[in-house]
């Protein structure tokens, strides 16, 4: 399977099952994507996850659920090396930023006020 197809499978899961990617402002969505997908990548690669602040812990709980679901639903993940997973997650992060921030048609995202 092509990397692009793998990314689309992961995107489809996030879009259907998660809510965290749809905060109401661009900067907030970027933070959410960064916070949760970085931690998900770390969990999938068995790396240390920062849990210093309450916000870290909040990202982390979404990341744990996401990592578990990815592993359970997409068996091809288990046969990937850590470097491959990192590259895949980077691609996923870029695609999520595009769909929810840079390519989004939501005119409210750039409103300077909440």
């Amino acid at each position: 399977m092509e990397t692009k197809d793998k990314i689309e499978q992961l995107v489809d899961y996030i879009m259907k099952k998660c809510l965290w990617q749809f905060h109401s402002r661009s900067w907030d969505r970027k933070n959410q994507n960064e916070g949760i997908l970085t931690k998900t990548s770390q969990l999938l690669c068995d790396e240390h996850v920062e849990l210093e602040t309450p916000q870290d812990r909040c990202y982390w709980v979404d990341a744990v659920v996401l990592a578990r679901e990815f592993r359970a639903r997409y068996p091809w993940l288990t046969s990937m090396s850590k470097d491959e997973i990192k590259a895949l997650m980077k691609g996923l992060h870029e695609r999520m930023d595009y769909l929810t921030v840079t390519g989004s048609l939501n005119k409210e995202l750039t409103d300077p006020l909440y």
Binding site: K17, P54, R57, V61, Y98, T100, S104
Partner: protein, 534 residues
């Protein structure tokens, strides 16, 4: 962009940008209608006003409060009891409604004196109630009455009372959503941080954007109690005014309806550093994940797992019974705001129905993003629809049922499409594991009711068969079941008619016990997740 133009709206060409069809290969960068804009003149909207959005969606579910409208009596009377947001204090906030009854002479000479007189009169009439919310209306906003000043005056004269003022006149936004925003910000600006709450657990949350429709909040509170998590405040269903003044002491904001209450979560995050966790309380899968996340934040995931296991074991067979019989039924999911995304995927996954259309009356584009992302290909997504568009969509899509409010619901009934009340429910609560089965039961009954079958007969014209009874389950919903499904023993929902009183009793007892215990010890302030510590 795959816009959809309604035949009936060709005379309002701007409407075309408010409806899209999610076609094959479409994503949010190519399929998203406009949203949260002023209704186009000529389109008879189903929206409410910003006063109603502030008062009747968010303000009035607070239970221990006199909720006063400063305006003509119609503003409060015509929006009174529009939702079934019950409470555990005998529904005080639902029983009474208060207005200053402004008339023409007040518009000319001012109504501040009238307001003060009404405030004092209301407190005297209900001497046990010491909290009040006051809502500006179009009339009092336009004449410029200073409601805040009057409230301050009364609080000085009556130091035992506390008053919250919400300046959200009906014209203060394109829809009720403008009012949601205003009251969120007004509450955190005026009231949060003004009371130090009693902390009874190491794990403390605010449960936000939950309005206790037919007991939803009580159901979720029960789960949180069973995990040992203190719900410091519920914003605002079954919520207490003073509890909501202590929101700043929670460790986590658990957000259910982001459409109506993300604002206060965002502010609590900015001002007090309390993170925001968005959850889904509907459906076995999403609810399980949500409970796990909340528990995991505090390092007590095992407690969530125990609840999930017990509840799924008890209720899954009954949900599956309905799923077998609802498979392939076509649904128009036409709620106000958040339920379009809370339900779009999970009624398909767990009940087997197909969502052929989603719409939102007052949602923003962000709500449409969530809804469109979650529904299947081919669904028609409509922003701020009018009645004719709703009729045209039903004629084209031929849904088996629609989930919507009571006004469009009545329209649907006229063309014999059954509807369930997505805002106030039919036989809720619908949240929680048991609640989800109750929702499935209500869908099943709405589609298959023998009364509904009979309603198609015109007794003035049709020959009424008198030698046959009404059609039974086996003749309607079971006729196309597979052999395998027929062999599965069991039946639909087996719970009682009303599940709330028992849960309320349990929740009240738990709170009293916790407050008593808290008087004897002080819990640690900062929780440490077990997995994090490891």
């Amino acid at each position: 962009m795959p816009y959809h133009e309604f035949e009936c709206s060709k005379c309002i060409p701007e409407r075309k940008l408010h409806a899209v069809v999610k076609g094959p290969g479409e994503d949010l960068t190519s399929a998203l209608p406009l949203g949260y804009l002023n209704t186009i003149p000529g389109s008879i909207s189903e929206r409410g006003c910003a006063y109603c959005g502030a008062k009747h969606v968010i303000g009035t579910p607070m239970k221990d409060v006199i909720h006063m409208s400063h305006g003509p009596v119609g503003c409060t009377y015509d929006t009174w009891q529009t939702k079934r947001y019950i409470s555990d204090n005998d529904n005080f906030q639902l029983k009474y409604t208060y207005a200053t009854d402004m008339k023409e002479k007040h518009v000319v000479f001012g109504a501040e004196k009238l307001l003060k007189q009404n405030i004092i009169e209301a407190f005297k009439a209900f001497p046990k109630i010491k909290r009040m919310t006051i809502y500006q209306t179009c009339a009092s906003a336009l004449i410029g009455d200073d409601i805040n000043a009057i409230a301050e005056e009364v609080m000085e004269e009556m130091p035992e009372v506390d008053i919250f003022v919400c300046n959200s006149p009906g014209f203060g936004g394109p829809s009720q959503s403008g009012g949601h925003h205003k009251i969120n910000i007004a509450w955190i600006d005026q009231k949060v941080g003004k009371v130090e709450p009693k902390i009874t657990s190491k794990y403390v949350i605010n449960y936000v954007g939950e309005y206790n429709i037919q007991g939803d909040e009580e159901v979720m509170l029960d789960y949180f109690n069973r995990m040992g998590i203190q719900v410091l405040s519920s914003f605002t269903g079954n919520g207490s005014y003073d509890d909501l003044r202590g929101m700043h002491r929670a460790h986590l904001n658990v957000l259910e309806c982001a459409r109506s209450a993300e604002y206060i979560c965002n502010e609590l995050r900015k001002r007090y550093g309390i993170p925001r966790l968005d959850i889904d309380g509907f459906g076995f899968g999403p609810l399980s994940a949500s409970l796990r996340k909340v528990a995991m934040f505090f390092g007590i995931e095992d407690r969530a797992n125990a609840i999930i296991e017990e509840e799924i074991k008890r209720w899954k067979p009954e949900l599956d019974w309905y799923k077998e019989r609802l498979k392939g039924k076509k649904v128009c999911l036409w709620p106000g705001g958040s339920k379009l995304w809370h339900w779009a995927h999970v009624i398909h996954d767990e009940m087997g129905v197909d969502v052929v259309s989603v719409y939102t009356k007052f949602g923003h584009q962000g709500d449409m993003e969530k809804g469109i992302a979650r529904c299947e290909e081919g669904a028609l997504a409509i922003d701020d629809p009018n009645e004719l568009e709703g009729l045209e969509a039903m004629e084209n899509l031929k849904p088996d049922i629609i989930f919507t409010g009571k006004r469009p619901g009545e329209v649907a009934k006229k063309i014999r499409v059954p509807y369930l009340n997505a805002h106030a429910y039919h036989n809720g609560p619908w949240k929680g594991f048991e609640g989800w089965v109750r929702f499935a039961r209500d869908i099943y009954n709405a589609i298959n009711s023998p009364i509904y079958q009979l309603s198609g007969l015109d007794i003035s014209k049709d020959e009424i068969p008198t030698d046959v009874g009404f059609k039974t389950r086996r003749m309607i919903s079971d006729v196309n079941l597979s052999e395998e499904a027929r062999k599965v023993p069991g039946c639909g929902y087996t719970g009682p008619y009303d599940i709330v009183p028992e849960i309320q009793k349990r929740n009240k007892a738990y709170r009293e016990q916790q407050l008593k215990l808290a008087g004897e010890s002080t819990p640690a302030e900062t929780p440490v997740p077990a997995e994090a510590a490891a």
